[in-house]
């Protein structure tokens, strides 16, 4: 009895040892290579979660689905003044969320907007083409440094390199005019984001982003989520021309406040 139990345990252990268990940020999956010899991240991808509503865990409310946190440790480590500001942002989000003005969503929010994006790789750069606003983010892969500031861009300046099969992107020169989500989670222009994109299977990718902003948070913090390949035959980026829709609505609305805000 004991011997067979021991044998069973040993067999289990052997099987477990042979079964690859992906560690955080790494994967045992080896992606195919592009023509240029890089890990192939190309294709149309999309996050399927509620991070664009609220990156922290939250219950449902009218029109808002509930969701787990994508923040490691659960909550964003705000400084006390910033936690208060986040509360104010949340209360006034209908008016303060830059997404309601159709502004560019910034990084990392652009990754988990409820729209697909397409990755295109060339020999010296990786391009993220977003369906939202039809925007293009260039990630320069030729070892050049960030340009000197001061620069404040909505989508920042992205410089990338390969760490094994993981695309690591360093982003600075972000302005403070973007939020992380619709729940008022915010940052300053000092934010520094390091993203990691790792293929974990034929149709899956792991997205991780480490956020550092000493003006707003007490320490760096991290989000992570799977990305899913859009596999249907008709998969393509369509057009979400947010500014056009917004301008048309406001122009024709006699009660609009839009044109009085300067």
């Amino acid at each position: 009895m004991k011997r067979s139990l021991l044998g069973f345990i040993l067999i289990l252990a052997a099987v477990a040892a042979l079964t690859p268990i992906p560690l955080v940020g790494q994967s045992s999956y080896t992606p195919p290579r592009t023509r240029e010899g890089q890990p192939d991240l190309e294709g149309i991808w999309q996050a399927v979660n509620t991070a664009h509503w609220d990156v922290e865990g939250h219950n449902g409310s009218l029109g808002v689905p509930p969701g787990h946190s994508v923040v490691e440790g659960g909550l964003i480590p705000y400084q006390p003044w910033a936690l208060q500001k986040r509360r104010e942002n949340f209360e006034k989000r209908a008016e303060l969320d830059p997404e309601t003005k159709c502004w560019l969503p910034g990084v990392p929010r652009a990754t988990y907007m409820p729209h697909p994006f397409q990755i295109v790789q060339t020999n010296d750069k990786v391009m993220f083409m977003y369906e939202y606003r039809s925007w293009v983010r260039y990630v320069w892969m030729n070892g050049t440094p960030h340009p000197e500031g001061p620069i404040d861009w909505f989508m920042g300046d992205s410089r990338g390199k390969w760490d094994g099969n993981t695309l690591v992107i360093d982003v600075i020169h972000l302005n403070d005019q973007t939020w992380f989500d619709r729940a008022g989670n915010f940052h300053s222009e000092a934010m520094h984001v390091v993203e990691r994109f790792t293929r974990t299977g034929p149709d899956h990718m792991l997205y991780e982003a480490t956020i550092e902003d000493p003006k707003v948070f007490t320490r760096p913090w991290k989000i992570s989520m799977p990305l899913y390949r859009r596999v249907e035959q008709t998969a393509e980026l369509l057009e979400y021309a947010c500014p056009a829709y917004l301008l048309e609505k406001e122009w024709n609305d006699p009660n609009s406040n839009y044109f009085r805000q300067r």
Binding site: Q118, M129, W153, F154, N175, L238, E239, A244
Partner: protein, 331 residues
């Protein structure tokens, strides 16, 4: 349009961008004297390309012509006004038409559509001859709204080719993926500012059918319009190593009496040829300071819409109305 983020940085960004694509961008924002020579466009290009020897382009691994790289725009005044015109103001010089067919270089509107176009022109508020009456519409582009086919007049585009698709990425924050794998267009009731593009190779010419257009864009800043029934057929062909012969045929029997075509060359920046009126063959003259800059070949963010709010408010205060397209009468 450079966002208002502070003069020094905005100026730096603007300077690098202008210097990088000086021939096209600076020309589109250029100023002309009253007696400047007529800016060449379709008629001159038609004559020039007729003289070119046949060109056998390099090919991608898929065996189709390799059009990859950065491309400039039409140059000239950036399509202030599509048809041939004399000097109108400092930014609207004497200029050849963009239209290669019909031979008279004019948009072949139906009577109804021509009357509607003239009505828009009279209310543009540009100080042009013939203006009268109330403001009509500002150009969609002045609100940072882009559309097909006008965006191809702009430069700052990079073409990337992959199996089954040709991708056009613009520094001005848009992209097009032209699928060449035979899939159908989006179809149905969907209508887009950029339409739905599907391409196929006809010999060495990429023929792109663009349907599902929403009819809200203009061809220029002078109120030349199309409708949600319009179909565009583009033709992209390498005329030589550094030149694309770009044409687009416009079909819409609800507002035009016949199909018509725009045609102009797109050139690679820095190849020593400019499209600026009156100066064919001049070099692009990029300063060496920019060539030594490690970021000289980069494309930097231009957040047009984010920086345009004041301008939008002003436009509304001046009485311009939203252009929601035209509805031609049913026969």
């Amino acid at each position: 349009m450079i966002r208002k983020i502070g003069v020094p940085v905005g100026a730096l960004t603007a300077t690098l961008w202008i210097l990088l694509l000086a021939p096209d961008f600076a020309a589109a924002q250029g100023f002309w004297a009253k007696d400047s020579p007529k800016v060449p466009m379709a008629p001159t290009w038609m004559r020039e390309k007729a003289q070119l020897p046949p060109y056998n382009p390099p090919r991608t691994p898929e065996g189709v012509p390799d059009m990859q790289g950065f491309w400039g725009g039409a140059g000239g005044d950036g399509a202030a006004d599509l048809e041939d015109h004399e000097y109108m103001d400092a930014t609207t010089p004497s200029h050849e038409t963009f239209i290669s067919d019909p031979p008279d270089g004019r948009v072949p509107y139906t009577d109804w559509a021509r009357a509607r176009h003239q009505e828009i022109r009279r209310g543009l508020g540009r100080g042009w001859p013939g203006e009268s009456g109330p403001r009509t519409h500002g150009a969609p582009r002045s609100l940072c709204l882009n559309s097909m086919p006008r965006i191809n007049v702009d430069g700052g585009q990079e073409i990337i080719q992959k199996p089954g698709m040709l991708i056009i990425v613009s520094s001005m924050g848009w992209h097009r993926v032209i699928y060449t794998d035979g899939r159908p267009a989006v179809g149905g009731k969907a209508r887009f500012w950029f339409g739905s593009s599907r391409g196929r190779w006809d010999g060495d010419t990429l023929v792109v059918e663009v349907t599902g257009n929403n009819g809200r864009g203009w061809f220029d800043t002078a109120g030349n319009f199309y409708t949600a029934n319009t179909k565009f057929t583009e033709r992209w062909r390498l005329a030589d190593a550094n030149t694309i012969d770009y044409s687009v045929t416009v079909e819409d029997p609800t507002i035009y009496t016949r199909p018509w075509t725009m045609n102009f060359p797109k050139r690679r920046p820095g190849t020593g040829r400019r499209n600026i009126g009156g100066l064919p063959g001049a070099t692009s003259g990029l300063p060496s300071r920019v060539e030594k800059d490690v970021h000289a070949q980069e494309v930097w963010e231009e957040a047009c819409f984010e920086g345009n709010h004041e301008n939008t408010i002003t436009q509304k205060e001046l009485g311009f109305k939203w252009f929601g397209g035209v509805t031609p009468p049913t026969k």
